[in-house]
């Protein structure tokens, strides 16, 4: 029993998912490690092309093969390697123990089928309930996710629902079998802000009600700030940093995390502060780069960064950073609260090639 409680629900070890294309091998995910603990919300943050979605689709073994292939690594769910399972065994787990909510609720429901049909299908596959029972269970779930008049609306088609309501239907569908792990891929990106707020509240409440572990994939640091217990930051197919949410925002140990925090406009900040963008563009995923994918855009980069990808550096509370200069970044205290003067000072010292041990007061 103790084993089950301390063991993470999901452990991803050295996962590599590559795609063969005409332009060469795309290293979408190129050796990542992280874990999802029981009952926690894990945020995976990254830009497009960072590999954040592919890392999760790999967990469900939904990578189209060819062109894609999981070329290396282990994905342990409750201690069992999902990559060793047969297709049939994986099919039994999808929608049952592991469920996914997709980004676009417009295109992930079948427009030709009534909502009832789409919801009960999952239950028919995974349970022995008869058709009346599955229907009742589906109505109950629609009510739980806040669909008014669920008993009537269950027989409608997807086009009769608004975007926010469709996303609720998706969530209901994902939770029908009470999964242990819910993966939400940009669940609110296609929605308006007021609807986004509704959906995030809903996911939070359901996590508490069902004790489901949740992985939220997003490009929006704001979304995970309020939701996640821990956050993994990805870039160029690699994990850059992993930390409890508060630590990540207040004392980041990776230059990319620092860059993200400084570059997003915040509604609670006024116009007077100029944004500090990350110069350059994301890397070409077909490059077989032995070094850190962020090195080209990184102000902190030294020669070594272009040659070899760093080993993780550990800090308090399980904060880990994959950076050769992680300790220096950490020591310079460049979190969300750092003043522009302090940032400018640190930047100047980094630029001059100085080693940063403690922040100058």
């Amino acid at each position: 029993m103790t084993d089950e409680q301390t063991q993470p629900l999901l452990e991803v070890r050295n996962l590599k998912t590559h795609f063969e294309t005409d332009e060469g091998t795309v290293r979408a995910v190129d050796g990542i490690d992280y874990e999802v603990r029981r009952g926690e919300v894990l945020g995976i943050v990254g830009e497009s092309g960072s590999g954040k979605s592919v890392s999760q689709i790999s967990v469900l073994r939904l990578i189209p093969t060819p062109p894609g292939k999981i070329v290396d690594g282990e994905i342990l769910f409750n201690g069992e390697d999902l990559l060793e399972k047969s297709d049939e065994e994986i099919r039994q787990m999808r929608g049952n123990q592991i469920s996914m909510i997709w980004q676009d609720p417009m295109s992930s429901l079948n427009p030709f089928l009534r909502i009832s049909r789409q919801l009960t299908e999952t239950l028919e596959v995974h349970t022995d309930l008869d058709s009346d029972e599955t229907r009742e269970r589906a109505i109950e779930m629609l009510e739980m996710v806040g669909i008014p008049a669920a008993r009537e609306r269950i027989d409608q088609y997807p086009h009769q629902f608004s975007g926010g309501m469709r996303q609720r239907v998706m969530i209901a569908m994902a939770l029908l079998c009470r999964p242990e792990l819910l993966i939400a891929d940009e669940p609110t990106t296609a929605l308006d802000v007021t609807i986004q707020a509704q959906i995030l509240e809903l996911i939070k409440d359901l996590r508490d009600d069902f004790d489901t572990s949740v992985v939220i994939i997003t490009h929006d640091l704001g979304v995970v700030a309020g939701m996640a217990d821990r956050i993994v930051v990805m870039y160029g197919g690699r994990v850059m940093e992993e930390a409890p949410a508060k630590r990540l925002f207040h004392q980041p140990a990776h230059p990319y995390t620092v860059g993200l925090l400084k570059s997003v406009p915040r509604i609670d900040r006024g116009r007077e502060k100029r944004l500090v963008p990350i110069e350059g563009s994301p890397p070409d995923p077909t490059d077989d780069n032995p070094g850190c994918p962020f090195a080209e855009r990184c102000r902190w980069a030294v020669d070594k960064c272009h040659e070899e990808f760093p080993e993780p550096v550990e800090f308090e509370d399980g904060q880990r950073s994959y950076c050769w200069r992680a300790e220096e970044v950490y020591a310079s205290e460049l979190g969300a609260k750092a003043s522009p003067e302090h940032q400018a000072d640190i930047e100047e010292r980094v630029e001059s090639g100085e080693r940063i041990d403690t922040p100058r007061t």
Binding site: E47, S48, S162, G163, G164, M165, D192, V193, T194, I195, Q196, A197, Q198, L200, E201, H219, D220, L221, G222, V223, A225, G226, A245, K246, F249, H250, G259, L260, L261, S263, V264, P265, R266, I267, D268, R269, G270, R271, R274, L275, V276, P277, I278, E279, S281, P282, R297, A336, K337, S339
Partner: protein
């Protein structure tokens, strides 16, 4: 106070809905913009926010006459654009430009960067031959593109670079007014800041006036001097961006502000959201009275009957809400769970930024 550049008066844009293949007749109207008035000063940025379907893009396009308005006036530097015919409008179009949301769909894939940026210059007879090429390369340099890439095609550029091409095209004719329609929402986070800074720099350098349309309130607040909030074809509130965030008076503005997540877990954990119920109603059949009353936590019978006028409540701050006349009703209702941002001052460590955060409570 700077001079007024643009004055929009009671602007309406309705799209007819037809039915019947042979006997086509108008059966309904989508009231995308339904009586909007405001003004923009020279060299100012006015932000325009609202949810999808609220009419903000239609409003932007109606101002620069990409859609011809159904009624109302658009005074640009003393001339009513809505009253001009196409020939009279043509020479004015160089002053009125637009930057589009999607840098993938708004550039012709079969044209080189040089011809995309140079096209408006040719249309308005502003340059030709060597002069045209020099001007295009100068523009590329201004927006941060390598002028040597003049013969490349859009697909050879990243999203952020494509948006720079779109910006170069928009500023090619030395315009005075640019409508920026969601210029950064299709871009990656690390690229958005580059483009926002570029727009800022161009404004300073060339004295541009912007209407900045976006659903992202954080970006709008960052770049705008004043912000207008739109809901279902109507203006709900307009104020300088500081006031609109610190002291919103329209319940919709309050809800929008509170719905925007702040990338800081300490602030987020102490923040209560006003979660609006339901969705934006259809603009084909808007609610009676105040269009927001179906989702408003404070609404009472008057709101369903009378449309509130946009009225001045303070220094350059206008609101369209019946609560302004009966503020005591605000006390009676707790909007959903609670209002505002419930940070405990004691929990917050003292630093420059925190001073701002604490002010949120005031």
């Amino acid at each position: 106070m700077a001079d007024e550049l643009l004055r929009v008066e009671n602007l309406k844009k309705h799209f007819p809905v037809y039915e019947g293949a042979i006997f086509r007749k108008e059966v309904d109207r989508v009231k995308a913009v339904d009586g909007v008035s405001f003004e923009i000063e020279e060299e100012e940025t006015l932000g325009l926010v609202g949810e999808s379907g609220c009419g903000k893009s239609t409003l932007g396009r109606s101002i620069i006459q990409l859609h011809r308005p159904t009624s109302g006036r658009v005074n640009f530097d003393g001339v009513d654009l809505a009253a001009l015919d196409d020939d009279d409008l043509h020479p004015l179009r160089r002053d009125l430009q637009m930057i589009f949301q999607d840098p993938f769909a708004s550039l012709n894939p079969r044209m080189t960067v040089g011809s995309i940026i140079g096209e408006p210059l040719k249309v308005h007879d502003m340059a030709s031959g060597d002069g045209l090429q020099r001007r295009v390369q100068e523009l590329m340099d201004i927006v941060g593109l390598d002028p040597r890439y003049i013969r490349r095609y859009p697909h050879e550029f990243s999203g952020g670079q494509r948006q720079r091409i779109g910006i170069a095209r928009a500023i090619a004719c030395n315009p005075r007014f640019i409508v920026c329609d969601e210029p950064v929402s299709a871009l990656d986070v690390s690229i958005q800041a580059q483009i926002l800074n570029l727009l800022d720099d161009l404004q300073d350098e060339f004295g541009l006036t912007y209407l900045f349309i976006a659903h992202d309130l954080a970006a709008v607040r960052h770049i705008s001097d004043r912000v207008a909030v739109m809901y279902l074809g109507h203006l709900a509130e307009i104020a300088d961006s500081e006031t609109l965030y610190r002291n919103p008076l329209h319940p919709y503005t309050e809800a929008l502000n509170s719905a925007v997540p702040i990338p800081d877990p300490e602030i987020e954990s102490g923040r209560e959201r006003i979660v609006l119920e339901g969705n934006v109603p259809s603009p084909m059949d808007p609610p009676s009275g105040c269009v927001f009353h179906t989702r408003c936590p404070y609404a009472w019978d008057k709101c369903a009957k009378e449309t509130p006028e946009l009225q001045e409540v303070g220094d350059d701050h206008k609101v369209a809400c019946h609560l302004i006349d009966e503020p005591e009703r605000r006390e009676e209702v707790d909007p959903a769970k609670s209002t505002g941002f419930g940070n405990e001052p004691g929990e917050v460590e003292a630093s420059d930024d925190d001073a701002e955060d604490v002010e949120l409570e005031a």
